[in-house]
Symmetry: C6
Subunit: 267 residues, 6 copies
């Protein structure tokens, strides 16, 4: 049934639902079983809300390190849900809003959702919505409390709601904030763990001219790299052209690994 | 007299009083002596306010871990009290209110209650009303102080008031906040502790086709699961249908136990 | 002269001065020497302000654990003072006021008092006026400073003022806040310490049908119970009737001792 | 010259300069050398400002424990200075002012002073002006900074200014706040240290009928009592009459020593 | 290709793009390989954004100690990019703006940039924009969060954006703030590390009359001096004339090294 | 050249430049080499800005303990600079301004300065401008950041600016605040260190009638006394006349040393 799920995934790649499009600039690459499991689990939640009568409210938290693909996964589930109401709550929509303006906007999305029979709300990058910074730590308690209440509030009778959140906050912090407890379930999105996964991703970029070049490139990539970073390094190696020279790819990935952008990698 | 109390409980299940209905989506299942004791104790407080002449003000705090059924129990007592004034104070009514707007609304409910000869106010999810977060800890001292004063304020002569509060805050935190001391009494709502309790709940869902399936399912459930979580897992296992396959139920409960939603379980 | 003082107390029980009435729902029971001493000392302060020429300002702080009877004692002294201006400052009058609104109201009471030749101001439940919570600790420094200044401010020439404050804050906290130093004197109101005291209180409730029942009941009560809690338990044991069954009284006091409401008892 | 100074003091007792009168309800008792030294030193500062050409600005801080007589000493110096501009800055004038309203009023007094050739400003009870509380500690930094700047600001050419401040804050706190450094000099007002001092004070009250009674009373007083407290206890012992019974005086002073009001005494 | 890059640099010295001119008062001196590497790397990012199709957004953080030349390097890259939209965000433009006014202005620059096909935004002196001070530490979380969101926000389809930030904050602080992670890459600008580098800089000032004087001067300079400080000391040594006497240069650099201005030097 | 500098200093004593006059009530006494070095160094900075073409912006921080003469030195440099724009920024001008009003005024002075070809801004008593208090520590970060940005902002092309700051803050605090790094250089103003220095100062006051009296007085002064305090004690010893009696001088300096005003002396 891995096969069947895969088949289901592919056609979906072309689907584009309003604001979610832009959050997934490089589409979705089915890079192997790790992704497949996440994707199938995510779809099960969508199905549950769509079909079951006694679960009007479900919420799933996608956690994982920076660039691991949380936003892209959530957006894909949203776009494929075919729910009549599908809406994104994202910090980019609210740059330099006051805390209370943020809360109003978030509340508005939920109130709109309560009017639709089936609704899908994605709350992206929760740490930025919360204005979280580990010094202190500081965060907007007003936004946090608003989210905590809305995550547990039942939609009106006969209406159903699925909420998908994404965050890079660690499980410890989420626990301390009490946020984890407000979600029905949590899924962890991992960085690329095996050479096989990495190879699928590099192949999908069509940046390497020959299978040999591809194999060499795979050798150069540290395991545990986030898919977003890997795709960026490929672009750097392309240097404006279509083909990535393996030597240049090696330089780029080395430079990269030595600077801030890779700070989160666990080799 | 367990029998008699049980009889008293059942007919009450059908009673629906305004806003309380929605807080008890799955009704009340009398899952055994642990519940029975709580229920009888709760009713004794209602009776005291209803009948005694020298107790114009009583307040009871329902504590217990997430999902243990505090809200459902409080709502049941409220609906069955037959008091002319029965009112819910809940954070869901006040999403993104300012602290002072919250206080005004809370105060308004009490002022309305003072006009009725018999009033029942349920203050649900006190930690959310307080905007409590353990980091700091931070909370709205304005809301806390408002509650503390109102919890001790006598209704006008000839009027009677019962206040039921619910919270998941630990006894330690409640003590430090000084909230516990403001209630006349406290009742602890426990998660499901014995296979017997769990069996009653699973049976009540009518999700398992045969007695054998039911027995197998009971084996799979970790003791100490909250009733709210258990009912959710049953729904997941139903996967949109009426019957829950035992195997799928096992998967769901395992998945569940490994993620955030189960964080509060004590196995 | 214990006798004489007692005589003085009794008739006073019927006196009712405006807002103070409601703060003493169960009247005053002269439960023995411990109370007698407090009451006589309190009256001495009233007399001093009433009669002496060189003490235009006196202030007394009543401290003691929750429910020990501070408010009732203060209210009794106020009602019996026969001063032309007798006023209560209480947090219940100022629910959800801003800090500065609280200060204005407090200041107003003092300004009114300065116009009367003899004034008695009772500041009830100072910890709630201060919005004190031990976490931090947090409190309204604006209210605290307002009280500190007003407690030491001389009334205008020829006017006299007695201030009685009540609080459950510990001596340590009061000292740190610097509040204790602002009062001319302090009296400690203790919970019920001896079986004799408890017996007087239980007898006064007339809840026990026979002297034997009364004696049995006294045995059941833990020493150090606050008078307010003891009176509440008697009501619970009455269960709406006039007579309290000793067995039920025992259950109630046991239940009670095991929950939050008794948290302050020192057995 | 002790004699001469004493003579100078006495007639001054009758002098009344506007607002300072009320701050010294019991006048000034020259209780011995300890007071004499303070008084002479204080007058030297007044003289310096009055006569010297090159000292347009001087400031003196009177420190000492609660009730030791700081305000009375400062007020006496102010009333006797015969400066054309003599003004009191006191927290009692600014109850529940905002921090910035306090600063405006303080600034206004200084600006008025700059218009007079000779000015005397007394800043009473600096800890209350600062809204100081040791928890935190918290205080109004706005008021503190305003005082610090004004204490060092030269009056306009040809104008002279003497500032006398009073406070019970410890030298350590004053140092940490940086306030001590802003004054040209500091004088410490001590509580009554010797039986001789106490006897002078008790004698001056004329409360004891015979020399023997006076001597007995002196024995009862703990050394280190503040003059303000001692005078209050005498009034209590008078119980509305003119004469204080020694026995009653003993009771009052014992009661007093055991409660809050005496918290600062060092026996 | 060091040669080629050098050639590319020189003509650029004359280019002046609006507001960037003033940030580079002493132009750019190609003082050797350390600078050359930084400059080439910086240009590679400009090229990537200019030419590649799949990298619409790149961001580079220039870190390094005070005066090491971060601003000058960033300004040079900006001026040479020939992008139609080149804009500076600098704390000097926003002196005494409120936090939210700062955010509005920052946001405005980004919104303008989104309208141009190719945009270059330089965010100079990020620690000052953040109002960072290590005590606390304190900083404007509102500005920080605004930057964090804007640094990751994709420009609209078909538009490209390069962001260059500069800061003296340590890597540790940047990591804790979570800022480092928001940039695609980071480059470290070092102070002058070798006598060769120092000699190139001193020679470029044309302050020393003879090669011998130049060599002597080089000996006097501590390694690890920031280029900005070195250029200032040369000016001091010129004392208003064109030529710097070596002896005076020695005094100046010694004075300098012993005072605050050199606090960051690591000898 | 000590001689030459001295000659330069003297005539300057008569120069009076607007607002700076009042900050130097006792003029400048050239008390020896320690002062001479400071004075010459200060003038070098003035010359550098006046004559050099490539140093449009210089800033010098005068640090030193309370009363050591920082303000007087800075004011002297300002008055003697003969720059067309010479302006004082001082906390005394901004008593009880809000933080943002302070920033506006500071900014205004700089904006005015940018219009003059040569400008001299003295920022006096930076700790008071910052409202610094070591408890916390607390300070106005808004004012701090404003100063930090303005201290590094280049004046417009063709304009030159010298900034002199004064402060008693320790080097450690200045470093932590990051203020020291914002100045081009720092000079430390020391208290009077040797009997020779003290003798010059005492002689300059012309308070002692004979050389012997002068010598005796010098013996009485603790080394390390600040010049401001020494001059005040002389005035106290004069007691309104012209001549200071040595005995009285001894008493005054002893009194002084034992109280707050001398807290900063290091004997
Ligand atoms: N299977 C995949 N899963 C997730 N992302 C994928 C996948 N295949 C390709 N991508 C691409 O990888 C990138 C993943 O970035 P995305 O923004 O989703 O990560 P993220 O975890 O949300 O990052 P951040 O922590 O910065 O929010 C996107 O550009 C997406 O188009
Ligand atoms: N005997 C019972 N007691 C309580 N709840 C029951 C019982 N039987 C069934 N339920 C159902 O179990 C659920 C209990 O959830 P409820 O919201 O009351 O828990 P809670 O403790 O208030 O949770 P939370 O900590 O999230 O506020 C409700 O859906 C309720 O209808
Ligand atoms: N001798 C007595 N002294 C005090 N209260 C008495 C006495 N006799 C009877 N009572 C009753 O006991 C109760 C005492 O409660 P009261 O509110 O005065 O206590 P409290 O110490 O102010 O409590 P809290 O700490 O909650 O403010 C009142 O109902 C009062 O009528
Ligand atoms: N020699 C004296 N010195 C000071 N006060 C005296 C003296 N003789 C009599 N008194 C009286 O003693 C009292 C001293 O109280 P005062 O308010 O001055 O003390 P304080 O130190 O300012 O107290 P607080 O710390 O409360 O401000 C006054 O009533 C004053 O009239
Ligand atoms: N190769 C170079 N790189 C950088 N700056 C140079 C170079 N050559 C000359 N300069 C000059 O050196 C000075 C560097 O100062 P700049 O302000 O750029 O440093 P900064 O690291 O941004 O300092 P700050 O930490 O104060 O922001 C400028 O005056 C610049 O004109
Ligand atoms: N050579 C001198 N240097 C400095 N001040 C002198 C000198 N000769 C005389 N003075 C006088 O000494 C006093 C020095 O006080 P000044 O206010 O300058 O000290 P400060 O260090 O700024 O003090 P503060 O720490 O209080 O700001 C002034 O009155 C000044 O006129
Ligand atoms: Mg994301
Ligand atoms: Mg609940
Ligand atoms: Mg009370
Ligand atoms: Mg006083
Ligand atoms: Mg820079
Ligand atoms: Mg100064």
């Amino acid at each position: 049934d891995f096969k069947r799920a895969l088949d289901e995934v592919r056609p979906a790649f072309g689907i584009a639902t309003n604001e979610f499009e832009g959050t997934r600039p490089n589409g979705i690459i089915n890079y192997g079983p790790a992704f497949q499991k996440l994707y199938v689990d995510g779809q099960a939640f969508v199905d549950q809300v769509a079909k079951a009568n006694r679960t009007p409210l479900l919420s799933v938290l996608l956690t994982g390190c920076a660039g691991s693909g949380k936003t892209a996964l959530g957006a894909t589930l949203a776009m494929e849900s075919n729910f009549p109401f599908v809406k994104l709550i994202s910090p980019e929509q609210m740059v330099s809003y006051t805390e209370s303006a943020k809360c109003s906007r978030i509340l508005k999305v939920f109130q709109d959702a309560y009017k639709s029979p089936y609704s899908f709300i994605m709350i992206d990058d929760i740490e930025r919505l919360l204005e979280y910074v580990p010094i202190g730590p500081r965060f907007s308690n007003v936004v946090l409390q608003t989210l905590m209440v809305l995550l547990k509030k039942q939609p009106p009778k006969g209406h159903k709601l699925l909420i998908v959140g994404t965050t890079s906050l660690s499980s410890t912090i989420l626990g301390t904030l009490g946020l984890e407890r407000c979600f029905s379930a949590a899924l962890t999105v991992k960085p690329l763990q095996s050479p096989d996964d990495i190879k699928v991703v590099l192949a999908a970029t069509e940046a390497f001219a020959t299978p040999e070049a591809l194999d060499q490139a795979v050798q150069l990539v540290p395991q545990g790299i986030a898919i977003k970073q890997l795709l960026l390094v490929v672009e750097m190696a392309r240097a404006g052209g279509d083909v990535a020279d393996v030597a240049r790819f090696g330089e780029c990935i080395a430079d990269y690994a030595s600077t801030a952008g890779m700070a989160d990698l666990e080799f």
